[in-house]
Amino acid sequence: MQRCWNVGSLSSDALATTVVVAVSMAETGKPDIASIRKLSHSGGSEAAARQAYEAARRAIIRCGADGFDLPQEKYSQWRDIEMTFNPEKMRIK
């Protein structure tokens, strides 16, 4: 996910915003794009949270395009995932 989460085109405000994103996974290991949604954000404005969320959404879609290699028998445990994208370490120091 790190490789796909690109914060290089985010404002400094968006880089100070943590977003929690929910996604439902298909049994194939692919994310259901329509299910991706922002659950909450903290640290930045509403506008900044929008850009931060969009970057997170791109990361999930791009890295999930071929499906994640996840254990089928435990599907019930990874069917719903909540990802917290915290850019604290990525911020301009």
Partner: protein, 441 residues
């Protein structure tokens, strides 16, 4: 990285006690590391909706692409690589074609020339991987002569929608155009678009002119000229190039002017009897007020965006350092404490940072620090960098870089406040002392 997520999820599952399995709650992950890379985007030529618009379709797309690439935050997928074609503004986009070339953002548009000869440009911004439009399609109308400005406005919208920063492409820069050898350099005021296009000279080269500063609305320019034989401050109207000298005492020098945020006051340096202090002048009445009374040099003042405070340079401690005081004068707090000499502080439009020139160990730097002096970061280093000016969105800084030696020449450069994306601003000749104007209406 897919494998990393997989591994992590696998580890989490492995570590999970059997008892927890019946619960249907979500798997929670925290991502704290990502990459910092330019976002790949594509801007296919606009759809020309009538014959007269054909000339503009590609040119506008090129300016939009150049604006975005120039930020260093975006990377263009060149037209040769495109698989998809946009032939109609309103047809659905085949996102798979754009995903295939790894374009993450796609800008589509159409242009037509209306009955009055005006350009009508429509555009949409698409998030390719989610297949969604970012915001709503928009339409801009303007004179055909101003096609570059329309393109800049589209690019500003795209940049702003994706990054969350305010735009800065539809803006101008006033600067000093330089020619001739170092010991007899001719200088004249010039104005251009932020990207170097539409250059226009505002003064001739008959006398030395220095450090023009835009008014907050971009309609006027303050600068220093030796027209009278002595450095004095002039006020120039950008539209008609009319100018007048600001009234100052005979036998004094005045320089380093800057507008207050409301555009009605000038803060500047005045030298009398060898001593340089800070003053303000009400532009309408010409009445001056003295702000500092120290035997040291006080110069290079710059207002905070709310007009309440002034950051300036003073050598009262023995070397030039940065200080902040109330806009009406009074006690000043020193904010620069690093090794070296600090000058030409400029308050950022967002109010949180001060950009400055720093001289240390024989090198010059452009840097930024918070207004309390903390978190100093140097963005550049060279033989001679000086005179930072902020883009209207506070994300980019332009400055003068002069090369060393007898053939030394000054040019304008810009740098992102992260210190990335240093680039030269194209100018026809040598250039110095840029002042970045506001976004145009």
């Amino acid at each position: 990285m897919r494998s990393l997520l997989t591994l992590l999820v696998a580890l989490t599952l492995w570590a999970m006690p059997a008892t927890a399995q019946q619960d249907g709650g979500p798997l929670r992950l925290e991502i704290t590391e990502g990459v910092i890379e330019p976002m790949p985007f594509a801007v296919p030529g606009l759809v020309a909706e009538n014959t007269q618009a054909r000339d503009f379709a590609d040119r506008i797309a090129r300016v939009i692409a150049a604006d975005l690439s120039g930020t260093g935050l975006f990377r263009e997928i060149p037209a040769e690589a495109h698989i998809g074609r946009i032939t109609s503004f309103d047809s659905p986009v085949e996102f798979a074609d754009w995903r295939a070339v790894n374009a993450q953002a796609l800008v589509t548009g159409a242009v037509s020339v209306d009955g009055g000869g005006r350009l009508v440009v429509k555009f949409r911004i698409h998030d390719v991987f989610s297949g969604q439009e970012l915001g709503r399609g928009q339409q801009l109308v303007g004179d055909a002569d101003g096609w570059r400005r329309i393109a800049h406005k589209v690019a500003d919208q795209v940049y702003s929608r994706i990054t969350g920063e305010g735009g800065y492409f539809d803006s101008r820069v006033v600067f000093v155009a330089e020619s001739g050898p170092k010991d007899a350099r001719a200088k004249r005021l010039a104005i251009m678009d932020y990207d170097g296009a539409n250059l226009r000279y505002l003064t001739d080269a008959s006398t030395i002119v220095l450090a023009p500063r835009f008014s907050p609305t971009g309609d006027r320019v303050l600068y220093t000229s030796y027209e009278s034989g002595f450095p004095r401050i002039y006020l120039l109207d950008v539209a008609d190039v009319g100018r007048r000298v600001l009234p100052t005492l005979d036998g004094t020098m005045s320089f380093a002017p800057r507008f207050s945020p409301n555009g009605r006051t000038v803060v500047y340096s005045l030298t009398q009897g060898g001593n340089t202090d800070l003053y303000t002048m009400d532009i309408a009445s010409g009445a001056s007020t003295r702000l500092t009374t120290a035997p040291s040099i006080e110069t290079a003042p710059s207002y905070s965006p709310d007009g309440s405070r002034i950051v300036f340079e003073s050598d009262r401690s023995g070397t030039p350092q940065l200080y902040i005081m109330e806009a009406r004068g009074g006690d000043a707090q020193r904010i620069s404490f690093g090794q070296g000499r600090y000058g030409t502080p400029v308050w950022s439009p967002r109010g949180d940072l001060v950009a400055f020139t720093k001289q240390a160990k024989g090198r010059f730097h452009i840097g930024v620090m918070r207004t309390d002096g903390s978190e100093e970061r140097l963005l550049t280093a060279s033989f001679l960098d000086e005179g930072p000016t902020w883009a209207p969105n506070g994300r980019v800084i332009m400055f003068t870089r002069e090369t060393r030696g007898a053939q030394g020449e000054a040019r304008l450069y810009s740098v992102d406040i992260t210190g990335r994306n240093l680039r030269q601003v194209p100018t026809a000749s040598g250039a110095s002392d840029p002042s970045w104007g506001p976004l145009q209406e």
